[in-house]
């Protein structure tokens, strides 16, 4: 049926009646005079009338079913505005995630609150200090993202490692810069997959890895992190250990429940592989 020209004119009594007008009738887009003409036309055309009634029923069916979505309470994550002046954007996103996750995330939230207070008191921060705060905010966001996604059994990632090439292509496109998942088999971790997350000023990538013992580890990768390259930093958010650093405009954070030595080993491997040559 799709092969037929869909907008063929249908013969009519008065002015020529087009299929487009029948749609306009269904969608309430006709003036009252033309509407009456369409009704007269349909009264004499059972097939067309049947068709129009079906279209009306389709509209009602779609509105009724999808109306349940319209009337649901809006999920919290959609109502939190990421405000424009930095650090609040990252903090708001962090808080929203923390608020919907349980347990450990609350301690991370505490850290973010503390940082919010610290930033609010420092007016205006010197550039170096601002860079530092941005980097540590990245580490906190990475820790929250780790806590939220790593316990997921059914859907830890958006795109799985079986589609690694598609994953990398997608993240590269969304971050606007080449992104790849380091191979960590040598240090005992296999890629599970990755996802895109909202960061401080745009999208960030999260890659998730798993060890043979079921331990999970996430690499959080953000671009446009201004400031000088840094050495590895270490922080602990609840049960999550995080190594983070800045290199050539990228912010990196590696989070896991694993101990500090093991995490350092992994971080060195990631650094070695991802360092721009």
């Amino acid at each position: 049926m799709d092969d037929n020209p869909p907008l063929k004119a249908v013969e009519s009594i008065g002015a020529p009646m087009t299929e487009a007008e029948l749609h306009a009738y269904v969608d309430g887009r006709l003036g009252s005079a033309r509407r009456a003409e369409v009704e007269a036309f349909l009264a004499a055309r059972p097939d067309d009338r049947e068709r129009v009634l079906d279209w009306q029923a389709q509209n009602l069916m779609l509105r009724a079913a999808l109306g349940t979505v319209h009337d649901e309470p809006v999920p919290l994550r959609l109502t939190v505005r990421p405000p424009s002046p930095w650090p609040w954007r990252g903090l708001a996103a962090g808080l929203a995630i923390a608020a919907v996750s349980a347990g450990t995330a609350w301690s991370v939230r505490g850290a973010l609150d503390a940082e919010a207070a610290r930033i609010a008191l420092a007016t205006p921060p010197a550039q170096g200090v601002a860079d530092e705060q941005r980097l540590s905010a990245l580490a906190h966001r990475a820790a929250v993202a780790h806590v939220v996604y790593s316990p997921e059994v059914h859907r830890p990632v958006e795109v799985g490692a079986d589609q690694e090439q598609a994953l990398v292509t997608w993240l590269t496109k969304r971050l606007g810069t080449p992104v790849r998942a380091p191979a960590l088999a040598a240090v005992g971790y296999e890629l599970i997959g990755g996802r895109l997350l909202p960061g401080d000023a745009g999208p960030v990538a999260q890659f998730m890895y798993g060890s043979a013992s079921g331990q999970r580890l996430t690499l959080y990768l953000s671009r446009d992190i201004a400031g000088q390259d840094t050495a590895f930093r270490f922080t602990k958010d609840g049960a999550v250990n995080v190594f983070f650093w800045r290199e050539a405009g990228f912010g990196y954070a590696i989070s896991a429940g694993a101990d500090r030595e093991e995490l350092l080993r992994v971080s060195q491997e990631v650094y070695r592989q991802l360092k721009p040559s």
Partner: protein, 173 residues
């Protein structure tokens, strides 16, 4: 941004969610799409010149995101994302929940292009010209997509007339 602008944007979220749910057939993916759209909208709000209704502007942003995602999906040899989501992920709803899932499946049988037009016209009640502007396609293309979408939906509904799915859907009428 003024407080009223923020309120205008927030007021559009329910219809954005309804539309993306119809497009994607999956609550989580729908809300991801809404979130992406809002992110971009907040970032670009100052650039919006109030040339039109804020809702149409948001739907335009969403359309671009949706098309980006389709391209990304089509580039993959196989897109199984979300197909194996457990049914328990659905928000429990009395009666209507079944109809929503049936409608999800039904809509997924249409092409994304047909689905967009059908939903924008039939559910979001945008004028044909608004849809043409929003999707950046000629008015005639809007009408032919609408025609094909409705024709296909008729066939799908008649084809399963004896099925339980349709019985549930017809209960909504």
């Amino acid at each position: 941004m003024r407080a009223t602008d923020r309120a205008d944007l927030l007021a559009c979220i329910p219809s954005l969610r309804r539309y993306t749910r119809g497009l994607t057939g999956d609550g989580d993916r729908a809300d991801d799409l809404v979130q992406d759209t809002l992110e971009r909208a907040w970032a670009r709000f100052s650039m919006w010149q109030r040339r039109g209704e804020v809702r149409a502007w948001l739907f335009g942003i969403m359309h671009n995101h949706f098309v980006d995602r389709l391209r990304a999906q089509r580039a993959r040899p196989e897109d199984g994302m979300g197909d194996d989501l457990p049914e328990v992920a659905q928000r429990p709803m009395q009666g209507d929940g079944l109809a929503l899932r049936d409608v999800d499946r039904l809509l997924q049988r249409l092409s994304p292009e047909h689905r967009e037009v059908l939903l924008l016209v039939g559910v979001e009640e945008l004028a044909y010209q608004e849809v043409a502007t929003l999707l950046a396609i000629p008015l005639g293309t809007v009408m032919s997509r609408l025609s094909r979408a409705r024709a296909q939906l008729r066939v799908e509904l008649q084809g399963t007339a004896d099925g339980a799915a349709t019985n549930r859907i017809q209960r909504v009428k």
